[in-house]
Symmetry: C2
Subunit: 397 residues, 2 copies
C-alpha cells in the first residue's frame, strides 16, 4: 500500500505558504509512491478532528492557483495542543495511512513539530518541519519562506509613499511595519532607496530601545532640510525598560491593548514639534500581498515543500528544512537546503544582529542591505522625478 | 513663434496624475505647433517663482516612466493663491510665451483654474482643467482619473486581507479607506467579493451617520457566524450630529487631531464585545500604488491630458475635461470626453447618491457595483480555498 502525506499549517499566513503546499503535492506526484496528500483543514486542530482533504485529486490548473493565493488555502489556527492531543496523534496517523507529516509554520509550529516527532517515536512515521514566517525569526536557516515577500512589500510601499511625500512635502509620515520582537521586515524598508536622500529617512527597530528625544531631534533636523520625512517603525518598539512605547489603551482581564506605534509617533511629532504628521499601517496587507510577492521567495517556498517530503521519504524525521546561502565565487545568490535537527530550532527567536544596525539605532547597515537584497526578487520599478532634476539644476547654476 | 504650454499639479497625488502629464506632452509632440511643455515645479507656488522645466526635451524612454511613477513627477502643493498672485499670472505667462495653461487637480485646483481663467480674460491665453482625485468627488464628470486605481487598490487589498482572515478566523479586522467626506473609495472595497460571504462583510460610508449600537450588533452576529469578520470603514465617519466618531486626541491652536477610525472601531469591538480585533490603515499606500494601478484609469488619465491640450488649442478656456460614460447597445464600457464649464464644477463636492447605499447603511447596492466595476480594470486574481470546499462537503454529508 502506498503511503499518505499530511500537511499542516500553523500560525499567521504569509504570501507563499501555499507555494510550499504546492511543492509538496508536486513532489508527491513525481515520486510515484504517494497515495494521498492530505491537507489538515484549519491547522493543528484539524488533525484531531481528522478534517483531511486529499489534494492529489485536484486538477493541476486549480492546484497552481496556490502559487498566487495569499493566506492559507487549507486554513490555519493558533490552537495550542495539549499532551493528550499529542498522545492521540500516532493513532490518527495510522488510521489514515499517514507516514509523512509535514508541519509548515514559525517558531511555535516548530515546537509542535518537535513534540509530534517525540510522540511518534518508534512508529513508521516521519515528521518534518517547513519554515514559514514573515518575521524571519527562526534560528539557523539563513532566512524563512514568507520573509522575502513581506520585505518586498515594505520596500516597494515605502518607495511609493516616499515618492508621494517628496512630491508634496508637507508632513512627516510614519509607516508601521510588522514584526513585534524582530526588526527584519522594518529593516527591509531600506531597500526602497535607489539614491541618497530617498525614503525611508529613519528606521526604528525593536532590537534597540527607543529614545523619544533622539527621535524628535532626528525628525526635526530632517524636516527642516527636506519638508517631507518618511519614518518606518516596528510595531513592537520598546523603551529602555523593555516596555512598549505606546501606553496601554485599556486592559481586559490579563491582556493589555496598546495603540498603534505609527499613530503614537505621528502624534508625538505634532504635539512636541508642531509639525504636521500622519501615519500608515498596512498591517495584514503586508503579509497577504500577491502583487508584491517575491518570485525568489515563492520559488524557495516551493523548494522547501519539495525538500520536506523528499527528506521524510528518505527517512528523515525530527528535522526542519533550512535554507543555507552558498558562498559562490560568481558573487551571485544561491541557496541549498539542509535538514536541521528541530531541537536546535525550537523556540529560539532570531533577531537582527548588531552588525545590521547602525550606531545611532535609526538605520540599517550596508551589510544588512547586501544580505537582504537578493531575497526580494527583481529590482523595484524606476520612478522619474523632474522636481528633483530641476532642483539639482538650480544648485548647479 | 510656436506657443508654449504650462502644466500645473495641485493637491494630493494619485497613481495616474503623471499619466495625464504624459498625455499632454505626447499631444504637444503630435500637434507640431507647440514649442515647450513646461511643468510648474512644486505646484501653483511654482508658477509665481517661475520654476518651469521643459518636458519636450525629455527622451521618450524616460518620459514613459511617467506612466509607472506614483505621486507627481513635477511636484505639487497646497499653496493657496492670493488675489495679487492671480493678478501676476498673465504677465508671467506672457513672459514665457505660455498660451495654454493646464491645471490638474481636484475641487480646490478647479477653483484655482476658474480664477486663473478670470485673471487672464482678454489675453491670448487658454486655461483648461484636468480632473484628478482619488476621492472621485468632482461634479458632473462620471468619475475622475485617479479614482479607478484607488478603487482597485482597496478592492484587491480587501480581497487579500479577506483571504487571510478567512484562513485564520480569530478576529475582527477593520480596514480604513481614504475619503473623508465622500465614500467612493470605501464603497469600492465591495468589488473584492467574488462569491457570497466574501469580505468585506460590512462597509461604513461617511454619507450615513454612524450608529455604534448597530455596528456592534452587526459585528457580533457576523463573528458568531464566521469567526473572522472584515469591516471597511471610511476615515471620515461621523455621528448623528455630524461630529467625527473618534474623539479628538488633542487640540493644537484651532486644529483638532483625531485618532484613526479603524483603530477606534477595533478597540470598540474589543471593549464592548470582548472579541479580538485589529485594524489596518494602508493610508497613502492606497493612492501611490502602481502595482494596483488600474489600466483603465491610466488610459483615461492619458486621454484627459491629451484632450485638455486639444481643447485649449481649439480655443477652449474656463473649462474642465469631463469623462462621460456612453450608453452603448453592446453593454460594454466606453467613455468620451466633454469640456465642462468650470463654473459648473467649482467647489461642488459630489458624494455617493442614495441609490448606491443599502437601507441599513452598512453596504453598497448592485447599482454601485455595476457603475464601479469597469473602472478598476481587469478582474482580480482568483484564489483557491480548499478549506471552504471542505466545509461545503461537510454540509452536504
Amino acid at each position: 500500500m502506498s503511503a499518505n502525506v499530511l500537511v499542516v499549517h500553523g500560525g499567521g499566513p504569509t504570501a507563499v505558504i501555499n507555494a510550499s503546499l504546492y511543492g509538496v503535492v508536486e513532489e508527491a506526484k513525481k515520486s510515484g509512491s504517494i497515495g494521498k496528500v492530505y491537507g489538515a483543514i484549519g491547522g493543528s486542530g484539524g488533525i484531531l478532528k481528522e478534517n483531511f482533504l486529499d489534494l492529489m485529486q485536484v486538477p493541476e490548473e486549480k492546484l497552481s492557483l496556490l502559487l498566487q493565493t495569499p493566506a492559507t488555502a487549507i486554513g490555519s489556527s493558533r490552537y495550542a495542543l495539549e499532551q493528550e492531543d499529542y498522545d492521540a496523534m500516532a493513532g490518527i496517523f495510522r488510521k489514515h495511512g499517514i507516514r509523512y507529516v509535514l508541519l509548515n509554520g514559525g517558531n511555535g509550529t516548530m515546537d509542535t513539530c518537535g513534540r509530534i516527532f517525540e510522540a511518534c517515536r518508534g512508529e513508521d512515521i516521519y515528521v518534518v518541519g517547513i519554515p514559514k514566517t514573515i518575521d524571519n525569526d527562526i534560528a539557523i536557516t539563513d532566512h524563512t519562506p514568507g520573509y522575502g515577500s513581506a520585505a518586498r512589500f515594505i520596500a516597494a510601499s515605502t518607495a511609493e509613499v516616499g515618492a508621494d511625500v517628496r512630491a508634496l512635502p508637507i508632513h512627516v509620515c510614519v509607516m508601521e511595519a510588522m514584526g513585534r520582537n524582530a526588526g527584519w521586515i522594518t529593516a527591509a524598508s531600506a531597500l526602497a532607496r535607489k539614491k541618497p536622500g530617498d525614503a525611508p529617512h529613519l528606521i526604528y527597530l525593536p532590537e534597540r530601545p527607543f529614545h523619544e528625544e533622539e527621535f524628535l531631534e532626528d525628525v526635526k533636523r530632517l524636516y527642516e532640510e527636506k519638508g517631507g520625512v518618511v519614518v518606518v517603525a516596528s510595531e513592537g518598539l520598546k523603551n529602555e525598560k523593555g516596555e512598549p512605547i505606546v501606553p496601554p489603551v485599556f486592559k481586559a482581564g490579563r491582556a493589555a491593548y496598546y495603540g498603534d506605534v505609527s499613530a503614537y509617533l505621528a502624534n508625538l511629532v505634532i504635539q512636541k514639534l508642531g509639525i504636521k504628521a500622519r501615519s500608515e499601517k498596512p498591517g495584514l496587507c503586508g503579509r497577504a500581498s500577491i502583487a508584491w510577492q517575491s518570485p525568489v521567495d515563492r520559488e524557495e517556498a516551493v523548494l522547501a515543500g519539495r525538500e520536506a517530503l523528499r527528506t521524510a521519504m528518505a527517512g528523515g524525521s525530527g528535522v526542519m528544512i533550512g535554507l543555507i546561502r552558498d558562498e559562490n565565487e560568481d558573487g551571485g545568490y544561491h541557496v541549498h537546503t539542509s535538514a536541521i535537527p528541530i531541537k536546535e530550532v525550537m523556540l529560539h527567536e532570531r533577531v537582527l544582529p548588531d552588525e545590521y544596525i547602525n550606531d545611532r539605532g535609526n538605520d540599517v547597515t550596508g551589510a544588512f542591505l547586501e544580505w537582504c537584497r537578493p531575497l526580494i526578487g527583481p529590482e523595484l520599478r524606476d520612478f522619474v522625478d523632474f522636481k528633483e532634476e530641476y532642483e539639482k539644476m538650480g544648485v548647479g547654476k
